[in-house]
Amino acid sequence: MSQEHNAYGYYPGCSLKATAHAYGDSTERVAEVLGLTLNEVADWNCCGATEYMSLSAIPAYSLIARNLSLAAAQGHQEMISPCSACYLNLRKANDSMAKYPALNEKVNRALGAGGLHYDPNSLHIRHLLDMMVEDVGYETIAEHVTKPLSGLKVACYYGCLIVRPRTDGYNPEYPMHLDRLMQTLGAKVVDFPLKTHCCGGHMTQISEETAFELIRRLLHNAADYGADMIVTVCPMCQLNLDAYQPQVNAMFGTNYEIPILFFTQLMGLAFGIPAREVGMGAEITSAAPALGKIGHEEMEPARPKRRDKKSLPMPQP
């Protein structure tokens, strides 16, 4: 990693300040250990998640573009987003403005009302995971591992928005970079065919039947392949799979207890950072039993193992 390349513009997004503070905390701690500087873009606003676009396109793009404009004005060339939804929105606004001059003109007219301007492509928008594996690299990461995650079986869950619609050369159906990263940390990676399937997105809010079925499929598949935990790169995925797990169990009569952690949390643990500092404990479905396996004693003692997967009842169609 070259010296001048370790400072980045940083767009945490709303989730990392609240529902996914564990992601934010662990990212900051891991960056510290790796000697990366993440400069938070001053006065950034919400990217609109998946909602704003359903109301009106120009305001939605303008909302996003304000962030692009601020970041560029604050002298950033690369902006890192840990949240897959923010990443997608920021990137899509940038790409669409570059590709469609009419859109670019309108969005810039709106920005102008706030005294701002943005030239498409003046920022390179990247996901935190991409930055970790490409810029930092597996080798450097391996060098920092002091407590390998040996014995831990993880299912790498990418979700939708980090690899789709189109991203920097990663396979949109079956990416492997998170898998490799987890292997670098010493974990065992299980095959997880649903690794890029949907977590339900905002459907948990508006149609539980739809969303919980999607969550059930993911939990079922991860359990099927013997994963101790699911590791994610997106606050929405984490929230849906973690916080709604009890309700999913209630709806389907299942009893999954699969912890859902952020990849940066596992990086932190492997780097030997104390568990609390990487936000452990914030999860609703406790990760303590799983982590007990790899000797993080400061966590609560392991609970009895869940029933084996064969006895999990299947829902009726």
């Binding site: 099927d224 299947m314 829902p315």
Partner: protein
Amino acid sequence: MMEDRIGVYVCHCGHNIAGTVDVEHVAEWAASLPGVAIARDYKFMCSSLGQELVEKDIQELGLTGVVVAACSPHMHEPTFRRACERAGLNRYLLEMANIREHASWVHQHDVESATEKAKSLISGAVRRVMELEPLEPFMVDINDATMVVGGGVAGINAALELANAGHPVYLVERDPSIGGHMAQFDKTFPTLDCSACILTPRMFDAGNHPNITLLSYSEVEQVDGYVGNFTVRVRQKARHVDTELCTGCGDCWEKCPAKVVDQEYEAGLGYRTAIYRPFPQAVPKYPVIDEESCIYYQKGTCKACEKFCPTGAIDFDQQDTEIVLNVGNIVLATGYDLFDPRRVPQYGYGRLANVFTSLEFERMLNAAGPTDGKVVLRDGITEPKSVAVVHCVGSRDENYNPYCSAVCCMAALKFGHLVKERTGADVTSFYIDIRTTAKNYEEFYHRLLKEEMEFIRGRVAEVTDAARMPGEEGKLIVQVEDTLIGKQRRIPVDMVILMAAMEPRNDATDVAHTFGIGCSEAGFFTEKHPKLDPVATMTDGVFIAGVCQGPKDIPDSVSQGAAAAARVLTLIGQGTIAIEPVRANIDEEHCSGCRICNNLCPYTAIEYLPDLEVSRVNPALCKGCGTCVAACPSQVITGQHFTFDSIMAQIEGVLYDTYNGNGYVSVEHEVPLATG
């Protein structure tokens, strides 16, 4: 200097030009251009009456040059050149102004713009034709030997047609045996003839024909020359088997301890030894040693094959040989590669054991294949009870190949029939459209409907082993929208066959470049005319046949092989051919001997004569690109037919209406649809 008397002929092309360009006005205007003796407009210039008009004017008015404002020169330049010649005007004193492809058809519904553009192009042509000089084409003899590259069914047939007509043929095949893809199949649609039964006799004939020299395990390295006189360098790879001694007995490969997966002939479904003959009917019958997998080449010991060979044919020291051939014509029949379905990860190929490619499945069906023709899962024993056939894998998809591969619908039906015949399993085809367009093909589809093959209209979204519902465990689940019902469905099956696209060979662009021909965007070789000259290319003397030109089935590949042979026979029959005198020419008197041109010529056609201290162009090697012409600082190289003066005049001509002419045109014109 003789006074210019130019005739200008503005073609209507029915409505094609006249519908957009005001041809009468253009002709009137052209008549007023300096040097123009006559201008006419006519409905169809290329018709015999149109050509007669030109001929009559040349003779009666003593024209010194002709401009035909019509279609592309690539369409009718030869037609009008012949007309000029018939009337006694040198054929190179003709110029075409392309007011169809370059004006009327691209500025449709905008008469004003199209008309202005036509005028500018005609003005350029008129100015240019005044600067042209009479030239004589070179006459060259046609060598009656032909090289056929690629020994698939298309190449074999081309070679046999030529050889049967009594002419020498070199059949160059890259693999150890000829046969191509057809040799891998068990049955061929729609008649279900046994592939080996119909192909093997042809292969044998090609291998034993007195007029055919078979160069197997060989590749073309370099091609020089031009129609009638190509010089080709071929590299024959070392087989490490002396074909003079080998009898094809097979003792060597029986004893060879090195077993590897056969990615070529068995499409990855079976094994072969390091010394191997791809299949029993291979032509030639001799084995080859694959150095990569041979223990002796990798580790230095073994030589079992040598020990057991009864004739002492094994030769570990054999080297590649270079062969130089002189041929008059070349037929390319290099076929296709199968699309690698790993590129469509949602179909699970390479990850899910019981997902197969169509070619793997062909090998499975083959009685001489790895499973002796039994239809079984990857475990080698279990017969599937249900099979899904997925259409359009890598075809009809902008992410991979936009074209339709033309044969896979029929091959899918063939698979349906054979699976049912051999296992009684349920077979479901997942299709977008069933394409069965040739003779007896639709009838075959109807037959499969009656044989109870299932058809679900919908392009498969994904194939997964992630069970979601009871009944799905342990199965492959094909998820699809049944578009005729409008609902998502999940069909559990035991086996999935992916009907992968036929793609251009991975080296197709390199091969095209070696032979000086073009490739389509997809990578298939470009024909001279898609309808009227489908087996010729833009390079005279180089022909194409079979799937290398575009996806097609065996009957069409065979027809093209024969058609290419017929085109070659026409040239051989003529004995000589006129070739374009578009060549460079150095005025040695004024050459400063700076030698700048020498290294620029891509064909090393320019030699330096040290005693005279000048450079000279060898016209037999020069191809007329003009690179040297543009580079000579003393401006003493003339590019015949594209001389400095003629191009400068044409520039002035097309800009006749700018401030050096009559003033700029001021019409507004149509904006075509902006992209995006």
